[in-house]
Amino acid sequence: MQVTLRIQRFDPERDEKPHFEEYQADVEPTDRLLDALNYVKWYVDGSLAYRRSCAHGICGSDAMRVNGRNRLACKVLVRDLGNPITVAPMLSFQLIKDLVVDMEPFFAKYRALKPYLIADDPPPEKERLQSPVDRERYEDTTKCILCACCTTSCPPFWANGDFYGPAAIVNAHRFIFDSRDHGADERLATLNERNGIWRCRTVFNCTEACPRGIKVTEAMEDVKRALMLRNI
């Protein structure tokens, strides 16, 4: 089948601001949007720039705005997107070229909330054991692939780029509620700051956007409740 792709193009060396261009792609209805983009890049216009790596919805490289909603290009089928399909880069981050944005501020926030095990007790001989119940507590937030679909769909983040954003907080949640971790206090103290968790307005865009089906807003509320129980 023939589909029309309206793709936002931006070449920093030539263009002052981004614009849309239309391309025809010859694809199967069961092909993914990524296949359609590959068709354009390989057979129509090789200068089109976008990120992709595993192409199986796990590396988190090809997040983009598809018909106005944040999706992974490798996880949506062409037949589900209508015709024409509008493809634009994620909002809020600096454009580098076409669909590629600068992700460095995103990862800076991720690192700022210490997404690693903080354990002050001496390492045990074999491993730090955990009961299945304790493991289940943070199961949902282990599924994050750091694609930034949630953070760049978040209206408070659009309004204020200093907000940590849902993705960083999801990854803090993964350790705050891990029974082997002792860093909850310092992470929660950071999240209680001006640009911390309280910038969340419970819009639910993050939950809607997550390609991994993480209940992002619920995780955010989990963190708010933890702060309430600790500080009040």
Binding site: P105, A108, K109, R111, A112, K114, I118, P155, P156, A159, N160, G161, D162, Y164, G183, E186, A189, T190, N192, E193, R194, N195, G196, W198, R199, R201, K224, L227, M228, N231, I232
Partner: protein, 138 residues
Amino acid sequence: MAHGVMAPSYGYGPRPQAQTASNFELWAWLFMRISGIMLVVLALGHLAIMHVINTVDVVDYQFVVDRWTGPWSAVWRTYDALLLVLALIHGLNGVRIVVDDYVSSQAWRVFWMSLLYVGGFFFIVLGTLVIFAFTPQK
């Protein structure tokens, strides 16, 4: 690096510590939830009394006098004071959040925040004064 985001720590150096923050936003969040639940009851009750059980033809000065001086005077004055304080602060805090998110100019932020705090304080004091200092005029 942007304000509020700390540089990552590498190696075995000390981990960055958060600044000591107040719990103001935490209290504001909790207040919005508690006042929201209370306002569902209070505001719907107010609506029912003023517009369903009674009509606007009945609600006049004498109606208020009867409520605020009768045997249930303390209850009605407390009801109205709660409605005033909770609805005003709940609404103004909502506006404060909108201003915080969307007004980026420092001068306009100061202007709006001052207006919200001064206005809110003025109407709470004025309203509470009216509710509790009210004596009917002959």
